[in-house]
C-alpha cells in the first residue's frame, strides 16, 4: 500500500508539472513517431459496403503497438521518483518489449516476468527484450500465462519497492494504476478526435477497440466519453465460444476482486480464478480494467466479443484488402467491424483502434493455418 500511495503522490505532482508532460511529449513525438496517422480504409469500406472505416494507426508506433505510450510515461515517472529499476509483466510480449525499450532509452535496469508457456510461444519478443538489456524471467507457477506473470511481478515489487517501479501494462491493478495507464493512453483518443474533425468535419459515429485488460480501448474511449453521439464498442475475446474456452470477462464474468482491483472477473463460486483462453495472448486475462466495468454498467460503452476464428479471418481480410497485418488482439476489433459496417449507412463512420501490428503473430497464425514457416 505504501508503494501505491507513493505512486499516487508522485503522479499527482507530475500531473501539475508542465515539465513532465513536455518531456513525455518530446519522446512521443521524436522517439515514438506521434501523432500516428488516421487512415481512411477505402478498400475495406468498399468491400464491406456500409459505414466509412478509419484506422487509427497505433501499429506504426515505435515497437509496433500502443503499449509504448504508457511505458515511456511510467519510466519518466519512475525516474522522477528516484527509482533505478523497473519491472513489468507481459503476455504476448508487446508490453514487455515496450518496457524494455523505455528502460534502455532512460538507462534503467529492467526485469520482465513472462509465463513460461508464453516464453516458448513468443521467442522473438523474448530475444528483442534481451537485446535491449532486459532480463526475462519465465514464470512456472499457475497456468504459466499473463495472470501468473502479474502475480510474480507483484511479488517482486513487494520486496523491492524502495528501488523499483512496477510498470503495469494495462488499465488494471490497484489505484492509481488504472488512472495512470488510461491517462497515458488517452493520447490515442485525443489525436483521433482531432484528426476526424480535420478530415471529415465531424466526429465518428462509432469507435471500436479490442479489450483484454483494456488499455488501448480506455485510451481511445476516454476522450470521447462526453460526446454522447459517439458509440463506443469494446470487443472481447470469445475464444472457441462463449460457452467454451474464452476470456470474455464482461460478457461472462461477475463482480469480484483480483490483482488489487474490484471489477468484473472470471472466477468460480469460491473466488478462484478461472482458466481463460484466447488465440491472442494479449487478451488472455481473467479480469478487465475497473473503468470498463463502470462503462459497461452505465451503458456508456457496449461490449461484444469475437471468436478466435473470426479474429483469424479478420487478420487475413485486413492484410489482403489494406496491406496492413494487424495484431491478433486488434483483429478482434476488426472482426466486429466486418459484422457491423454493412448494417450502417454510407454517411456514417467507424474508427477502429489499430492497436498493434501483427508481425509477432505470423508464426502462430501460420501454424494454425497449417503452414510451416518456423
Amino acid at each position: 500500500m505504501v508503494a501505491v500511495r507513493q505512486l499516487e503522490e508522485a503522479y499527482a505532482a507530475a500531473g501539475v508539472d508542465p515539465g513532465f508532460w513536455a518531456e513525455l511529449e518530446q519522446y512521443l513525438g521524436h522517439y515514438v513517431g506521434r501523432p500516428c496517422p488516421l487512415y481512411f480504409a477505402a478498400r475495406l469500406t468498399e468491400q464491406l459496403g456500409g459505414a466509412r472505416i478509419y484506422l487509427k494507426r497505433e501499429d506504426l508506433n515505435h515497437t509496433g503497438a500502443h503499449k509504448i505510450n504508457n511505458t515511456l510515461g511510467q519510466a519518466i515517472l519512475a525516474r522522477r521518483m528516484g527509482k533505478s529499476r523497473i519491472i513489468a509483466e507481459t503476455g504476448a510480449g508487446q508490453h514487455g518489449v515496450a518496457t524494455a525499450t523505455a528502460a534502455a532509452v532512460f538507462g534503467l535496469d529492467c526485469v520482465v516476468y513472462m509465463g513460461a508457456e508464453d516464453v516458448r510461444r513468443q521467442r522473438l519478443n523474448v530475444y528483442r527484450m534481451e537485446l535491449m538489456g532486459t532480463k526475462v524471467v519465465p514464470v512456472e507457477s499457475g497456468q504459466q500465462t499473463l495472470k501468473d506473470a502479474i502475480n510474480e511481478a507483484m511479488r517482486d515489487w513487494i520486496a523491492t519497492v524502495e528501488t523499483t517501479h512496477y510498470v503495469i501494462g494495462s488499465v488494471m491493478g490497484p489505484h492509481p494504476f488504472p488512472v495512470i495507464v488510461r491517462d497515458f493512453q488517452s493520447v490515442i483518443g485525443r489525436e483521433t478526435r482531432q484528426q476526424m474533425l480535420e478530415m471529415t468535419g465531424r466526429l465518428p459515429d462509432t469507435v471500436v477497440a479490442s479489450v483484454g485488460g483494456g488499455s488501448n480501448a480506455a485510451g481511445m474511449f476516454y476522450p470521447f466519453l462526453e460526446d454522447q453521439g459517439v458509440r463506443l464498442i469494446g470487443v472481447e475475446a470469445a475464444g472457441t465460444g462463449l460457452d467454451k474456452r474464452h476470456s470474455a470477462t464482461i460478457a461472462k464474468g461477475e463482480p469480484g476482486v483480483l490483482h488489487g482491483m474490484q471489477t468484473i472477473v472470471l472466477q468460480d463460486e469460491d473466488g478462484q480464478t478461472l482458466p481463460v483462453h484466447s488465440v491472442s495472448a494479449g487478451l488472455d486475462y481473467p479480469g478487465v480494467g475497473p473503468e470498463h466495468a463502470l462503462w459497461a454498467e452505465s451503458g456508456r460503452a457496449d461490449y461484444v466479443s469475437a471468436t478466435d476464428e473470426e479474429a483469424l479471418s479478420a487478420f487475413e481480410t485486413l492484410s489482403r484488402t489494406e496491406g496492413i497485418i494487424p495484431a491478433l488482439e486488434t483483429a478482434h476489433a476488426v472482426a466486429h467491424v466486418i459484422k457491423l459496417a454493412p448494417q450502417m449507412d454510407e454517411q456514417q463512420s467507424i474508427v477502429i483502434n489499430l492497436s498493434g501490428r501483427g508481425d509477432k503473430d505470423c508464426v502462430e497464425v501460420a501454424r494454425l493455418r497449417g503452414a510451416d514457416i518456423a
Binding site: 507457477s141 499457475g142 511479488r155 513487494i158 490483482h259 469460491d270 473466488g271
Partner: protein, 269 residues
C-alpha cells in the same frame, strides 16, 4: 458453534495470559483434507498458542513458492470452501486452540463479506487474516467480523509509516501481524537486524498484541522473537516439511507424526 456463543474469543484468551509462543500455519487440503484434519487434531496436544489455516487461492500474491505450491496442489485435488468449512466444524469440538483463516480478499468478496464471515464463524473459525485487504477497504469487513465476535488481524509491514500503523491498529482486533521482512512468505536464514526495535516501537504504540510472521523458520527464530513479540507465526517451513514427507512417500500417520514432531521442536527448541 461460533465463538460468539462461548462468550470469550479464543484468540483473546490465548494472548491474554502473556504467554508467548508458536502459531503454526498449514494449508487446508494439502496434501489432502484428511491429513489437514489429522494435523489439526494432533496439534491440540502441542505447546502452541493457535493455528492459522490457509484457504487455498489460485493467485496468492503475498506467498512464496512453498505455499503457492501447496495451494495449487490443494486446488488441483478439488478443495472447496464448503469442504473446508465442513471439516473445521467437524473437528472444532476436539481442539481447544484458536483457529484463524488466512484467506484472500478475492474469496471473501466473491462469497460476499457478511455470508463469508457468518459461514466461517459457524464452522468454528475464531478470526481472520486477509493479507491482501488494504486499510481503506478493511472497515466493512472489520464491522462484520466484530458483529460475530470474531477477530480481524491486520498486517503491518516494515514500510508501513507510523501514522498508518495507528490507523491499522484501530481497525484490527485480536492481534497485529507484523511482517518481519519486505517480500513474500518463505523461510529465511536470518531475521532482520532491526526487527526487535521495529516491533518494540509498534508495541509501544498499540494495546493489541503483536505476532511476527514471514521468514521465520527455526526454533531459534521463534525463541528470539518471543522475547519481544507476543508470538511467532511459522508457515513455509512447516508446509515444506509436509511436502518433503509427501515426496518421501510417507504414510498419512507417519506424515502427521513427522510434522507434529517438527512443530513441537519449533515450539520448544
Amino acid at each position: 458453534m461460533s465463538a460468539s456463543n462461548s462468550g470469550t474469543n479464543r484468540i483473546d484468551s490465548a494472548l491474554s495470559n502473556a504467554s508467548t509462543g508458536l502459531w503454526p500455519f498449514i494449508a487446508a487440503g494439502y496434501p489432502c483434507l484428511e491429513i489437514t484434519e489429522a494435523l489439526l487434531k494432533a496439534m491440540n496436544g502441542l505447546p502452541i498458542r493457535g493455528v492459522e489455516l490457509g484457504i487455498p487461492f489460485s493467485d496468492p500474491i503475498a506467498d512464496g513458492p512453498v505455499i503457492q505450491h501447496a495451494f495449487s496442489k490443494a486446488l488441483d485435488g478439488g478443495i472447496t470452501l464448503s469442504r473446508i468449512f465442513e471439516m473445521v466444524s467437524k473437528v472444532r469440538s476436539e481442539i481447544d486452540y484458536p483457529l484463524l483463516a488466512m484467506v484472500s480478499a478475492s474469496i471473501v468478496y466473491r462469497v460476499e463479506i457478511e455470508p463469508f464471515v457468518k459461514k466461517a464463524g459457524d464452522a468454528g473459525f475464531d478470526g481472520f487474516i486477509v493479507p491482501d485487504i488494504s486499510l481503506e477497504e478493511a472497515p466493512t469487513l472489520a464491522k462484520s467480523v466484530g458483529e460475530q465476535d470474531l477477530r480481524l488481524s491486520m498486517l503491518v509491514a516494515p514500510t508501513t509509516p507510523a501514522d498508518r500503523q495507528e490507523r491499522i491498529a484501530a481497525v484490527a482486533s485480536g492481534f497485529l501481524y507484523y511482517v518481519s521482512i519486505q517480500g513474500t512468505t518463505g523461510a529465511r536464514n536470518a531475521l532482520p537486524a532491526d526487527l526487535e526495535s521495529q516491533v518494540r516501537a509498534l508495541k509501544a504504540s498499540t494495546s493489541l498484541p503483536v505476532l511476527i510472521g514471514f521468514g521465520i523458520s527455526r526454533s531459534e527464530h521463534v525463541k528470539e522473537v518471543c522475547r519481544y513479540a507476543d508470538g511467532a507465526i511459522v508457515g513455509s517451513a512447516i508446509v515444506r516439511k509436509i511436502s518433503d514427507s509427501v515426496k518421501e512417500g510417507k504414510s498419512n500417520d507417519a506424515l502427521v507424526e513427522d510434522v507434529t514432531g517438527f512443530i513441537h521442536q519449533l515450539a520448544t527448541g
